[in-house]
Amino acid sequence: MINICREVTRRHFFRDCGVGLGKLALAGLLTDAFGSSAAAKSSTDSPLAPKQPHFPGRAKRVIHLFMAGAPSQLEMFDNKPELKRLAGKPLPPSVIGGQRYAFIRADAAVLGPQYEFARHGQSEGELSEMLPHLAQVIDDVCILRSVHTDQFNHAPAQIFFNTGFAQPGRPSLGSWVLYGLGAEAQDLPAFVVMSTGSGISGGAALWSSGFLPTLYTGVRFRNQGDPILNVTSPSGFDARLERDSLDLIGRLNQRQLAVEGDPEIATRIASYEMAFRLQTSAPELMDLSGETQETLDLYGCQPDKPTFARACLLARRMLERGVRFINIYHEGWDAHSDVAGNVKRNCAATDQASAALVADLKQRGMLDDTLVIWGGEFGRTPMVETNPALGRSLGRDHHPQAFSMWLAGGGIRPGMTYGATDELGFHVAEQPVHVHDVQATILDCLGFDHERLTYRHAGRDFRLTDVHGHVVRDILA
C-alpha cells in the first residue's frame, strides 16, 4: 500500500484570492520578484536580493560608457609631440617587436597628433582640444594613460574587457556585479544596456551572464520600438483589460500554486506583477518631460533623438531608480582612415554628455557612490594607416600595447592622471594597468576582493580576472 503524502489543501480560490494580486502588498517582494533561476537556487538567498560585498565599497552602482571601436588616445588623452617630429618615418623594428597588426604593416610611417593639447583645472590634466567638456570636469576624473590589453581585434578585445576572457561564454562585468550585490531597483531591471552609434562588434556576449544564472544578463533598452522588448501591450488592449487579465492570470496561478505546491508558481505570479509595473515604469523612465531645460542643455540632449546624450541622461534617471549597472555602448571609433575626422565626429557625439553625467551626478550628490567608467577596447597605433586598395588614408590601426581611459566617482581619486607611455606613445613606460587590473579595481570600488568573487562552474571557481589582476591602489581616493 502506497503511503500518499498529505497534499496541499485545496481551498476555494475565490475566497482567498478574490481581491486580485495587484492590491496585495508586494512592495517588499519586487526586487526578489525580478526573477528566480534554477542555477541560482542553491545559493543561500534570492538571486537578486541585495547582498553585502566583502567589505564596504565606495561605489554602489556603475555606469560604464564603452567607447566601442577604440578611440584614438593620441588625439584625445596622450599628447606625443615626438610623433610630430617623426611623422612620415617608420618606427624602428626594435620598438615594434613582434606585434601583429590588423591592417597596417609594421614599417608604416608615424602619424603626428592631429590636435593640440592643453592643461586644465587645478589638477592640470592634459587633454586635446577635442574634449572641451571633459576639460570642465577634469578635476573630478582620473585619467589612465597606461592601460594595455591582450587582444588586437575588436570582438575579442571587447569581450575581453567586459568579461575578462577573449572568447564568449564568461559572465560580463555587470553580471558579476549583480551576482555580488544583488538588485536595488524596485521596478526596473538591475543591469541595463543601451547603445548608440553603429553596431557593436562583441554582440550580446558583452552583457551575457555567461555561466552565471541567466537572470544576471543585461537587459537591452532599445532606441527603436519598445524600450524593453514587448513592454507595450498589443494593439487594442487598454489598461483595464490588462489589469483584468493580470488579475485573472494571477488568480488562476494562485489556484495552481495551492494544488501543486511548487514555489516556482509563486515566483511566476510575482514576475507578472513586476511585468505589469515595468509597463508603467519603462515609459515613465523614458519620458524626459520632467527634466529641466537646463539639464537637457547640460547633456546636449534632445528628448526625441536616441543619441548618446539621451542615453547618458536616461542612465542618470535609472540610477535614481536604483538600477545597479548601466552599459552605454557608443560604437564608431574605429578610425582606420581619417582619424582626425573620426575623433572630431565622435567627440562631438560623446564629450558633452559624458562630462555632463559627471557634473550632474556630482551636483545631485550621487557621484560619490557611483562609479563612471569611460573607455574602449584598445588604443590606436602611432603609425599611420594608409591603404589604397581599401581607399584608406591618415588613419590609425589597432594598438593593444597602450591606451587611455578615465574613471570618476565611486571611490576613485579625482583630478589625477595615472601612468605614462613612452615618447612614441607605443609602449607603456610607467605604471602599467592591464585590463584585468582595471577589472580588479572596479570590483574593489564596489567592495569586492576580485580573487574572492567567484562562481563554481565546470569544476572550478571562476572569477572576472581569471588568475590575474591587481587593484590599482594609487588611483583610489
Binding site: 550580446a204 522588448l229 563554481r456 572550478r460
Partner: protein, 1031 residues
Amino acid sequence: MTGAPRLPSGSRSRLLRIRSWLPLVWISTFSLSVSAVTAWADTGPDFNRDVRPILSQHCFKCHGPDDAARQSGLRLDLRERAVAAADSGLAAIVPGNTDQSELVRRISSKDESEMMPPPEAKRPLTDEQRDILQRWVAAGADYRPHWAFVPPRQAPLPAVELRDWARSPIDTFILARLDAEGLSPSRPADRATLIRRVSLDVVGLPPTPEEVDQFVADDSEDAYERLVDRLLASPHYGERWARRWLDLARYADTNGYEKDRPRSIWPYRDWVINALNAGMAFDQFTVEQLAGDLLPGATLEQRIATGFHRNTMLNEEGGIDPLEFRFHAMTDRVATTGTVWLGLTIGCAQCHSHKFDPVSHREYYQLMALLNNADEPELALPQPTLDEQHRRNVEQAQRLLVELPDEFPVEADGESTPDEQRRAELDRRWSEWLAQQRSAAVEWTPVRPVEATSNLPLLTVQPDDSVFASGDFTKHDTYQLRFATEVRGITALRLEALPDPRLPADGPGMTYYEGTKGDFFLGEFQLSDGERPLKIARASSSYAKNRFGSDPVSAELTIDGDPQTGWSVDGRTGERHTAVYVLESPSSGEGELHLIMMFGRHFASSLGRFRISVTTDPRAGQALDLPEEADRWLLLPDEQLPEEAREQLRRTFLLNMPELAEPAKHIRELLKPPAHPTTLVMQERPPENPRPTYRHHRGEFLQPREQVEPGVPAFLPVLPSDEAANRLSFARWLVSEENPLTARVTANRQWAAFFGRGLVATVGDFGYQGDPPSHPELLDWLAVEFMHHGWSLKWLHRQIVLSATYRQSSRVTQTLAERDPENRLLARGPRVRLEAELIRDSTLLSSGLLSHKIGGPSVFPPQPANVTTEGTYGALSWTSSPGEDRYRRSLYTFSKRTAPFAMYTTFDGPTGEECVARRDVSNTPLQALTLLNDVVFVEAAQALGAEFARRSESVEDRIAFLFRRVLVRSAEPEEIEALAAFYQDQRARFETGELDAKAVAGGGDGDATEQAAWTVVARILLNLDEAITKN
C-alpha cells in the same frame, strides 16, 4: 562568495518569503536536513564521498596533478606520493598515525606561516573538514579510485518494501533510496497530466484533446506503453531530441564574432534529426559526427555528420590572424568533446595541467592532436531539382543565344531592310573582333615548376603543370616557384588563375572568410633569373574587380612594388582568369626562372590553383577574356577553324557586344552553374600534409612549444595500438565499452532531460570536482544496460518514461518541500518550466498554427526587426518568413549568435557560442512580457480567438474545450466560471466599442467582437504558469 554550494540548502529563504505573502501556502521554517539528502549509511570517512572533495577543493591546486604548480614536492592525489617524504623530508600522511602525519599537523596549526591551506589561498577548512581528514588518516588513509573513472558495473537489485510499485530496476533503485530516507513515492499522475508530460518529453509537443481522449478512454493494460511507442516512432521525436543535441553541438546559423555572417550548416541539423528518428545507435552517432569522413566508403550523409565540430565560430573581422582563431576553434573542439562524451572539464588543461583531474597540459594537446588533422571544406550537396532547373536554363540560354543577333539595334538607313542592315553590321564587327583577338593571341607554353614552396600552404604540382595550394593559409602568403625552362627568349609570362572544385566556391582563390569566397588578392608578382630581377614592362588581366573600397585592382598593380595594391576577381569567382606579364627585354634563356608571388590583404587571400606559361612571341600583351580552348582556336588559320569553335567564338563575341549588354546579362545568368546547398564538414588531411600539433605554453596561440603526438589521458584506457591514432580511432575509443565515462555521461544527460536534473547534477563534470551521483547504482545500471541495448537512445528513453518513478504525480507536498525541495530523491514526478522552443511550439500547436514540415534551411519567424540590427555590428535584416515558415518548429528558427532570437534568449536558450550541457531555468518578468505581448503569442491567441468565435457551443463548453487545447487537462468548474466571467466582461466592452475589437482580433472575417473576446480569453490561458510548465 564562492559559487553554488553543492548542498541543497538553497530554497529556504525563498520559501519563507513566499509564506509571508501568500495566504494559501504554508511552508515550514524547518531547516533542511542536508544529510537526509546526501548521506549514505555512515561508516566513517569514505574516500570518494568525504575525503576527495576536500582534498580536491582545498589542496590539489598546489599539491595535485599539475607538475608546474606543485609546491614542496608534495602530491596528495596519489597515495604513494602522499605517504612518501616530500621536499621537507617529512611525509604528509603516515597512515594510521595522525601524530606523525604532517598533513594533520599543518591543517590544525594556528600559525599563519604553517597552516594549510595557507591564508592567502583563501580556502580555509571547516572544523568538520579537519575532523574528516584526521579520522581518515587515523583509519589508514585509504585511497579509492574516483567512482567515474572505474567502468560501470551492474549492482544486484536492492531489496525494497513496495515491490509491487516498481515497474523496472529503475524504480527499485529509486525506491531503495526512498526506503532508506523514510519516504514514499507519490501516487501516479492522472492520465491527462501523464500524456502531456510524456508527449512534451518525447516529441516536444503537447497532445491534442483527441489524443488525450483516446488515451484516457483506453483502459487496456498496455495503453501507456503503446502511447510511448507511438511517440517514439513519431518523426517529431527527432526534432525534439535534435534540439537538445544542438545545444551541445553549439549549432547556429551564423559565424559568430563581429561580422557574424550567415553560414549554411542546416544539413547537419537535419542529419541529427534523421539519425535520431532512425534510432541510430549512439556509438555510431558518435563515430559519424566525429569521423564520418574517415569511415571506409564514407557516404555523403556520413560526411555531413562531421559538421558537429564545424559548429565552432569563424572570426571574419578584418585583420584577424586566421590561424589564431582556428586555434580557438580547436580549443573549443577539445573542451566540447570533453564535456559531451567524457563529462570532463578538459578545457581546464588548456593553459596548464588540470588542477583537479588527472589531465596534464601535454595530454590536453595530445587530445587536440587527435582532432587537429583535418581540413575544413564546404560540401556542396547534390540536388537533382536544381540540376534539372539548370539544364532547362541552359536550354533556354541556347535558344536566346540563337536569337541574340536579332536584338542588335539598328537605325533605319532607308536603303536596306533592318535585317540586312543588322546582318551587315554584325558581320563587319565580328570580322574586326576576330582579327583583333587573333592579333593578340600568341602561343603559350606551360612551364612546370621544379620547385614550389611557400611560407605555409602546401604547393603541389598537378599533372597539367598547374600548382595546387592546400592546407593552412595566412594573411600574407608568399609562393616561391622555380622553373627550369628550355624556352629561350621569353617575351612574356602568363598567369592562369584556375578554378578547382576543391577550393572555396570553386576558387581560383582560397579566400574563405571576410572576402568573397574563392577570390584571391595577388599583391606582387616578381621575376628573376635566380640572381638578377627580370624587369616586367607591363601587365594586363582578363578581368579584375575589387571587393573592398572603391580603388581599382589590376595585374598592373601587382608589379608596382606595393603589396597593398594588386589584382582580384570579385564577382567572377569559380572561373578561369589570366594575367599577362610582358618582360622589358626577352630573357636570355639560360633556363632558370624564379617567381615570387605575394598574396594577402586584411584577410587570407592566396591563390588556390594556377599555372604559369611562357611565350617568345613579341606580340604578347593583352590578357584575353576568352575560354581556355580559344588559345588554340585563335592560332588556327581561318579555314581550319572548326565550325563548332567558330560558333563558340561568335557567341563570346556577341555576349560581349556593348549594344547587347542587357540580353547578354540575362543569358549569363541562365548559364550560371546551380548554387547547390552547402554544409560545413571535416576532411582528413592527406598523408603528405599532416598538421602538427604543439603544446602551447599558458594555452596561448603565440607560444607553441614542443610538438605532441595524438593520444588520450593516461588514466583512461589506451587507444588501440593497431590503428592510426586519428579522429576515427578516437571516436571509437570514446564509445568503447572499456571507456568508463561515455555511457554514464550519456545516460545521465538523458535522465536529466526527463527529470530536470541528472543523477549526477553536474552533467558536464564527472571529475573530482563534480557532484557525486545521487543514485550511483542506478546510474551504472542505466549505463551498462544502455550499452547492452546497442547504445539505443530510444531504448533508454523508453525505459525511463515507462518507469513508475517517471509516472508519479509531481505535486510538492509539505514533506517533500521540506525534505527534498530539489527532488533529488524522486519521491515525486518532475515539474520543470518548459524550454524556450517547447513553449513556442506548444503555443503554436494548441493554437492550430504549427507547421509540421521537417527540415530544410532555417526560417525567420516574426520578431521585432531591430533585435538583429540595433547595436549589432553584423546587422541582419530580419524579414519574417512567409506562409507556413512563420510557424515552423522552433529548432528551425535562424540562429544568430551575436543577436539571438529574442524569445529564446528570454527563456534561457543558448547562443551557440559554446557547448551547453545544461540550460539554466529562470523565471523573470521579461518572460511574462514575452508571453503577454510578443507577436507569436498574440498571433496564437488571435488564431484561437478566430477559431472559438466560429464555434457554436455554449460559452462554458467552449471555455472547457479551449482550456483543454492549451492546458490539456480539463478545467475545474471554478476555473471555467472565472474565465467565463472574464469573457463576458470583456465582451461587453468590445460590444460597446469601449475596446477596439478589430485591433484585438487582428483581422479575420468572423464577428470581430466574438473574436476579440475569445482572443483575450485565450491569452489568459497561454500565460498561465501551467501552460509553460511540464507538470
